[in-house]
Amino acid sequence: MFAENDVGLQTTEKTVAMTFPAAGGGCSAGSCGSSLAQMDALSDAVRAKVVDHPCYSEDAHHYFARMHAAVAPACNIQCHYCNRKYDCANESRPGVVSEVLTPEQAVKKTLAVAAAIPQMSVLGIAGPGDPLANPQRTFATFRQLAEKAPDIKLCVSTNGLALPECVDELARHNIEHVTITINCVDPDIGARIYPWIFWKNRRVRGRAAAAVLIEQQQKGLEMLVARGILVKVNSVLIPGVNDEHLKEVSRIVKAKGAFLHNVMPLIAEAEHGTFYGVMGQRSPTAQELKSVQDACEGNMNMMRHCRQCRADAVGLLGEDRGAEFTLEKVEAMEIDHEAALARRLAFREQARAELDAKRARAHANPPGAQVISLHRPLRKPAGRAVLMAVATKGSGLINEHFGYAREFLLYEVTESGARMVGHRRTDKYCGGSETCGDEDSRIERIIRALDGCEVVLCARIGYEPWSRLETAGIKPDAEHAMEPIEEAVMAVWRRLLAAGKLSSPRASGRYA
């Protein structure tokens, strides 16, 4: 599938090659370095599994779309960040849906989405409760979809309590990706996150509940890995509860063979009615999140592009087209399924070719090849790391107008490459950004969201936001419109370096 092998770049006399070990060996499976390095570190078999899964590959998420079928309303545990009462079309967070579907309705909707959005490659079941607490509904959906749209990957996201008893059936349905939410491996910490579980016909509370849940999660993880199913671990970062502990979680799940770790920020607002929201537990800052992700990265591949989507999300990560596919609208659609399948296959071929070309370019002209080794710097790096924000609407290009961007992707750029380190939303978790607040407060909110960034790259930007950004010390850049993100941010970084702006730590305040 890819032209390059797993070894990376050739060594020449003057070039110290960046070599990336195969998965499982050496420098923690390519968890350091650029996105390219992460993909290079995978075996061909694993790369084939993640190449078009937007939640398992950062590269793929620029191209491929997913949808969540909300067929699983029941849950077998309670988490302090969840409130089962909520159902709001304007809120975007896990556990929230507009309508619960039967398996038959879900299949119909999935086929409609897959016909309208050729980028669609994955159907996930993630709630609004726990998919494995609704095994009949979940597996009925998988069974019918495997028959009617065999090209769509199926995946599932679970709290893990019922996982061990479901592993065989997951394997039978050819599920290649399972996400387990693991917030702790210590029952004392778990007791502060989970008030109760339903276990063996009883409601079990407190530390005993957390102990059972943790044991089931770990057992399920081991069983999945033993069957060659890729496991992503999601962890909710809860300041003061599990922030220090997540490094331990990361170390343990990595040792057991989890593929990817996704540390997500707690979402807690009083109006959500969750325990944490009502009791005043705060969410982490973007900086706190990044520092925990960085600390875990020594152990593990980290997912930095998660958007914490709804349990009925539709589209590319970061967009939600669910409103286009309500049951009523789906019923009225006339669909040519064969033509739709052909469009999807054509899209996939094109996207993979683009990804291949991007990788080939990156290998032909590696950012740091002339100077250094990634792991053992022979000398002091030429310039410091720069955090840049990017406005994109997909395909890995800088192709979004500043004013239209609902989110910015964040890249940390150094001489050895660019890597995505997160995203910042410009709207609130409850949508409707167009209607709430005037333009003035919107630009202020964006500037606050871009805290720590020195450059923002976009396709176009108006004069007014341009000058507001400059005053705030963030340099707007529209010179790289329609260029691939990683190449553009590297070009900007090199220009800053050539201008002598990266030799000292960033001056606070205005951009020089």
Binding site: P73, A74, C75, N76, Q78, H80, N83, R84, K85, D87, V100, G129, A133, N134, Q136, R137, P195, W196, F198, N201, R202, R203, A270, E271, T274, F275, V278, M279
Partner: protein, 92 residues
Amino acid sequence: MALKIITGCVNCWACEPVCPNGAVFAAKPHFLIDAGKCGECLGDYDEPQCAAICPIESVIVDTLGNALNPSGSLTGIPPERWADVQTEISAR
């Protein structure tokens, strides 16, 4: 004697499969319990199964109208705190 589901139920389906007597059924606007089939799980389990898995406080009641999961018992949020927060939110 039989349990009853009242307003507030969010139709999450959790109780339906765990009832040993098949007494719980989907209905509008919310799930209901067939009083003729419900034995409150006596003789089957230590706890009535619907009430043991239900995530919503105060929506399953006994024949006297007492909630099996009173306010605050499942979320851990003290009811007075919840009342304060709601007042605060509606004042915004």
